[in-house]
Symmetry: C2
Subunit: 345 residues, 2 copies
């Protein structure tokens, strides 16, 4: 189609600032004949305080009509922990069946990393997005008493595991190294572990060109700091994926450049693209936030909507900017302008 109808959710904290740069770059990179329509939504702490709402059924109906969603960040210290996370972000991921949570990690030459020796890092984590310990199953009895018991139930289905594992194999197959690592903890979480491991081996038979291996999540964190070059594609569950992608972001340029896509591959619902970082209320409104992660999320959005050449142009612009940025301190806006100029030229 020759138009993109985008839902834009700036959200809280630095969300507003970084999303503005994402849109700037998106406008600059799109061919003249592609019409970009955006509708802004006011989800987040402010609306929650004003109305008590996080995400209503009517909101979901309205969001559903867009081609994709660009999200800044949701979360504010004024809202109790969990309310916006469960009530907005996870509710949306679950409602729109965002089962492929895609998080690439690439360390570009010259970009600062806490690791010694500037290792090669270029992998992508396919994190399951609709199951596991994130389902909200569980509960509390005898709350607030010395006999309280609180449970959290990780729910894993053959349907849910197989589709994300297959997606990850297809992604590995399409990459030059063609390697897929399953990360789990199947020696302790044996019920879920069996399902993940058996599914992984079964689907592997359909992708004979893809080399496979397995790591316990604890061992995976070791390799992420001692030998990140060993990874090409990783597939893992929702919680392990949450943990290792923050670590992956930290070692490959920091949370300021980590992008993600919450993808519904069938297209039944719009996919959502967001930086991995949060709302960072401590630096909000000061022009200090790095919009790079949002701009890279825009690249994932473009790729998802079929604009591959434009996605590559955005990624190349970011790569050039990162390797050339040096020590200069630039504002959020200045970085956005620089990236928009690069993609336009």
């Amino acid at each position: 189609s020759h138009s993109i109808d985008l839902a834009v959710i700036p959200g809280d904290g630095i969300g507003q600032e970084v999303v503005a740069q994402g849109l700037k770059v998106l406008s600059a990179v799109l061919p003249q004949d592609v019409k970009l329509e955006t509708e802004e939504y006011d989800f987040g702490a402010k609306r929650y305080h004003a109305t008590g709402e996080t995400l209503t059924d009517a909101d979901l109906d309205s969001l559903k009509k867009h081609d994709a969603i660009l999200l800044g960040a949701i979360g504010d210290p004024s809202v109790p922990s969990g309310v916006l996370e469960r009530g907005f972000l996870l509710k949306l991921r679950f409602a729109f069946d965002h089962h492929v949570n895609l998080r690439p990690s690439k360390l570009l030459p010259g970009v600062a990393t806490p690791l010694a020796g500037q290792p090669e890092i270029d992998f992508v984590v396919v994190r399951e997005g609709t199951e596991g310990p994130y389902t909200g199953n569980g509960g509390t009895i005898r709350k607030g008493t010395p006999h309280e018991v609180a449970t959290e139930v990780s729910v894993n289905t053959a349907f849910g595991v197989e589709r994300v594992v297959r997606d990850a194999f297809a992604r590995a197959q399409a990459r030059p190294r063609k390697k897929l690592t399953l990360v789990h903890k199947n020696n302790v979480l044996t019920f879920a572990g069996h399902l993940w491991t058996d599914t992984f081996h079964r689907v592997a038979a359909e992708f004979p060109e893809v080399a496979t291996d397995y790591l316990h999540v604890d061992a995976a964190t070791i390799f992420l700091v001692t030998d990140p070059a060993r990874f090409d594609v990783i597939v893992t569950d929702n919680l392990f994926g949450d943990i290792i992608t923050d670590l992956a972001a930290a070692v490959s340029g920091g949370i300021g450049v980590a992008a993600s896509g919450n993808i519904n591959p069938s297209g039944e619902f719009p996919s959502m693209f967001e930086p991995v970082h949060g709302s960072a209320p401590d630096i909000a409104g000061q022009g200090k936030a790095d919009p790079t992660a949002t701009v890279l999320s825009v690249a994932l959005l473009l790729r998802h909507l079929g604009y591959e050449a434009e996605a590559v142009r955005v990624e190349d612009a970011v790569a050039a900017d990162l390797t050339e940025r040096g020590d200069a301190v630039r504002t959020t806006d200045e970085i956005g302008d620089a990236l928009a100029a690069r993609v336009a030229s």
Copy 2:
């Protein structure tokens, strides 16, 4: 008492080799008038293959009589994943109520770390050892079919959380920096998260000198590589503790020097001390394993049994050895001999 009655479980792979060095150092450091008695147990893959047993009730009765347990490593690729982990290691931790899983991380000057700039690292993780996702609760229905559902239930009790949180506060109180960080994921795992967070705040009131903070587990992995100096004592659940202590080991000298104690503070059951590393079957029997983690576990064992001066002597010997070892390649035995010589002198 003037004797130590020790259960010794060499286990699989490199377990045998490293435990031998641990005992060597233990014998060398103990005062002449302390009688060391050891009884060796043959748990592990070999016994499992021969008998089908991992740890029987009779075994537990027998182990129970010792003052403490020294474990090398359990695990072998010939045994299906989970069988020895759940059937031996976790069974023992649960049966002997090892609710304080103590894992110190200290980066010594001159010791290799994957992090740039040799940061200061000196913290201890107090990992809950008897609850959380490790309980084995959960199950599978419709196994092997397209409709399989596998669940894992994280069980958290006020009793279990409070005792480990209180233990961690007491440890933080006893350290110069007096800082305790709770690591959880209370914005997603809200049932368990509330229990942990509320308990943490309630117990904090009893320790007004201890500074507290909270990190989501994903953010904690970032700080472990970008600013590990921010940590003093960490308290966390069983699974998060498993993950972050492997990462902590990786950044603070590697898994070859990471010690742990599975502690039953009441003394009702013997505590167990073990290196964090596994059985490393690929290098077993070649004299290549670093026994340092086992020797540091012996230091934790000595401290637990009241031999504080001896514990410090072992730790000082390891520190001196690590900072002076340079690039020389030494065998398992040579490292053990060097450490035994240092503690004896």
